[in-house]
Point group: C2
């Protein structure tokens, strides 16, 4: 190996995007890079977002989630070493300590270690050991374990702890496997959404047969001979053969605890070129990113940002100049079980940071259909549109509805991206035909109502 030595820590989306991009860019520029990638686990470049669909059986197995195999990465010229956990990083000397292996020297390093599931003390045994039947749904090993448990679990009871995207998706997976499902959340289901949108998701879960416990704190587990039998919620015990812990994730950066690179929550804050410090780059779920339009730092661990920031890091590390343009917090999921089918989406992070909910934010919930009402089976849709009453700028949009509802968020995201107003959204030229839309697109009806509300207030109404 010759040339500039780059060490990438983490072989998932962010790390491998960075590794491949730096090799491509270096080749185009006639540079030589020696790229080593270390990962503590045994898997590379997998779609973590696909895990619930392996668990549900919709996707046959975890191999389907792997975008590129280790062999393919190596064939591209990457020195990929799996099962290699970095326990310490000496940034001064350029040396990574690797558990059970020789240290690795580097000229520059990319931190792409992702995130670890939050596992509270109560989710483990007295000595911190795992409890049989209690797991997160974070990596491919979890996916395989849950798929196998649920495949044989029809009629058994699972308690899903956490009402975020993963919680909702794992509830769906369990229902599809024929399990009985309870879902426990500290606040609401999808609590980053407006209460009215959140309530519609909850109602859909309930119609699908999920026993939903809102505003409920888990006190502990009931365990019999090392195997979980229930979850204590207040004075109740919810019986459980299986417990999915879906309480979110936190940046996997403990090996950097001795540095001053981390925020209190453990996250790194790469600049728009992807750099954290000279010679230190970062991308993926171990990072915070900046939200448009204001630029506040937010922790929104999503594959979309990981892939983009990874590519930015790779390009710049090899001498290019690409800027990560920030995020809007755009996200989507689906809940589909039996007769129930909803899509849920949002864009715009500003309204969920209390500091950003200015007095000037106007929000309105609008009901409609995704296709023309006279067409058979027109799915319903509910939208929240938020805008600033002074600047009229669009701040956020949230959607819940049937087939075709969710991806409408992208048009709203595009308006937000450009710093557009609620009037831009209301009047722009969107597509219409009866089987796929309404003559006034429902997004635009919702935006127009907010514009009219602002006008009305301005007129002293």
């Amino acid at each position: 190996m010759t040339g500039h030595r780059v060490l990438v820590i983490g072989a998932d989306g962010a790390g491998m995007s960075a590794a491949h991009q730096m090799l491509r860019t270096a080749r185009d520029r006639g540079r030589e890079l020696a790229v080593t990638v270390l990962d503590a686990g045994q898997h590379t470049s997998y779609s973590a977002c696909g895990i619930p669909y392996v668990v549900s059986g919709e996707v046959a197995g975890i191999d389907d989630l792997v975008a590129r195999t280790a062999q393919e990465h190596r064939a591209a010229g990457i020195d990929l070493r799996l099962g290699s956990r970095v326990t310490h990083l000496d940034l001064e000397a350029g040396v990574a300590t690797v558990e059970g292996a020789d240290p690795v020297e580097f000229d520059e390093v990319v931190v792409a270690t992702g995130a670890s599931p939050v596992m509270p003390a109560w989710s483990r045994g007295p000595a911190g050991e795992p409890v049989a039947g209690v797991m997160p749904a974070k990596d491919l090993d979890d996916a395989e374990a849950w798929a196998s448990r649920f495949a044989d679990g029809a009629g058994e009871r699972v308690v899903v702890i956490g009402g975020g995207y993963i919680g909702v998706e794992m509830a769906e997976a369990a229902l599809r496997r024929g399990l009985e499902v309870a879902l426990v959340t500290r606040s609401r289901v999808l609590s980053t959404f407006h209460p009215e949108i959140s309530a519609r998701v909850t109602a859909s879960l309930v119609r699908a047969g999920v026993e939903v416990h809102l505003d409920s704190e888990v006190e502990g587990l009931e365990v019999h001979e090392g195997v979980v039998t229930g979850v204590r919620v207040g004075s109740d015990v919810l019986a459980a053969h299986h417990v999915v812990v879906a309480l979110g994730v936190r940046p996997a950066t403990d090996f950097l605890a001795h540095t001053d690179l981390r925020q209190p929550n453990g996250a790194l804050r790469p600049d728009e070129r992807g750099q954290v410090a000279p010679g230190v780059w970062a991308a993926g779920d171990c990072c915070e990113v900046q939200a448009r339009p204001v630029g506040e730092w937010v922790y929104v661990p999503l594959g979309t940002h990981a892939n983009k920031l990874g590519r930015v890091v790779g390009e710049n590390l090899a001498g290019g100049d690409l800027r990560f343009p920030g995020v809007l917090g755009t996200a989507i999921t689906r809940f589909a079980a039996g007769e129930e089918y909803i899509e849920i989406a949002r864009t715009g992070v500003s309204t969920r940071n209390p500091g950003n909910i200015a007095d000037t934010c106007v929000s309105l919930v609008t009901e409609g259909t995704t296709i023309t009402g006279y067409m058979p089976g027109a799915p319903t849709i509910t939208l929240l549109v938020s805008a600033d009453r002074i600047t009229r700028r669009l701040l956020a949009v949230e959607i819940v509805g049937g087939q075709g509802a969710g991806k409408r968020i992208d048009a709203a995201a595009a308006v937000l991206w450009a710093g557009g107003t609620v009037d831009d959204l209301a009047w722009m030229d969107l597509s219409y035909a009866p089987p796929v839309a309404t003559a006034w697109e429902v997004l635009q009806i919702a935006a127009r109502r907010v514009a009219e509300l602002i006008d009305h207030e301005a007129a002293g109404g």
Copy 2:
């Protein structure tokens, strides 16, 4: 009746949007308007776009297409007179001549007469009379007639003449009714689309059983005892029990032939406030509109523009100040028959006016899937992205693909609306979850490929 007298000619989307908006705005501003609406036909406010779905039987009948009845309009204070054809307009004197009725005086007039179907000389009998079995698919009477003919037409043969949206939609309707379908077009199917997108639509029609005749000029009809029996195309005769003439429309403005308000194609050109001349306003399919970003006049008769421009006219006529912000030529349709299902959409008019296809336009066709490839039944999608190689501005996007493909055009339209670049589209924060999208949204993959092509060319590649 007291107050300022407004005459609206045409009781469809544009006219009735204008009428209702002017009454609302006048009420808010304490003004008095006397609004009379005249229409030559017997129907108001109907969804012309829904006609093919009545013909196919998906929608039960034409009443379902009527958004508001004549009674509802009258209850809102509009003096609506159906069966009232305006044959002459004296703009100087403010008098409309009405066939078989008293003239109507006005202070201001709104022309919202829409468009008439193009019916070439060969589509009529020697004396210009209709031929039994040969009709357009333009209004509710046509809808009712075709629905009735097709309902009893299984096994019969229909020749659809014209490969535009209506032609494709009527072919679908006929297939769904069990007819045999031939489609004849002078050039390609959906000829405003890029040849590769157009070819995919043609292939879908053919797979669904349509006999497609490209680059074929209709010479005339075969008629037996006043009833059509075939269509002559070159030296061939295509047998036909029914002939749908879907050759487009032209502005219905003959009654203004004595004025200097019309363009050579018959269209009016309202300014951004909706005014054609002092006291003369216009909206809907009788108008050209200005395309963003350049501002060229285009004839794109679509309900979306009609509704918006009608509202602008109504607001301004009653003393408000609302500007019609222009169009992108965004459009969508679906073709669904038997196993076939495609959605087809476009945005950006600039590439279809030869004068605008500058040397600096770069286009690329990209193939992908609308949802993650490992999910079962991931629909395919083909996208054309065009951008300017100097400014990198997005110029146009065209899409053909399965469920969920078409409405993706709206995110592209939003970028075009803001004058954004292909890089904006490639890097913006769009939504992802495996059942509804790919991790790099396919729109963004397509945009990135165009960006890379521009970079590559700039580097002398």
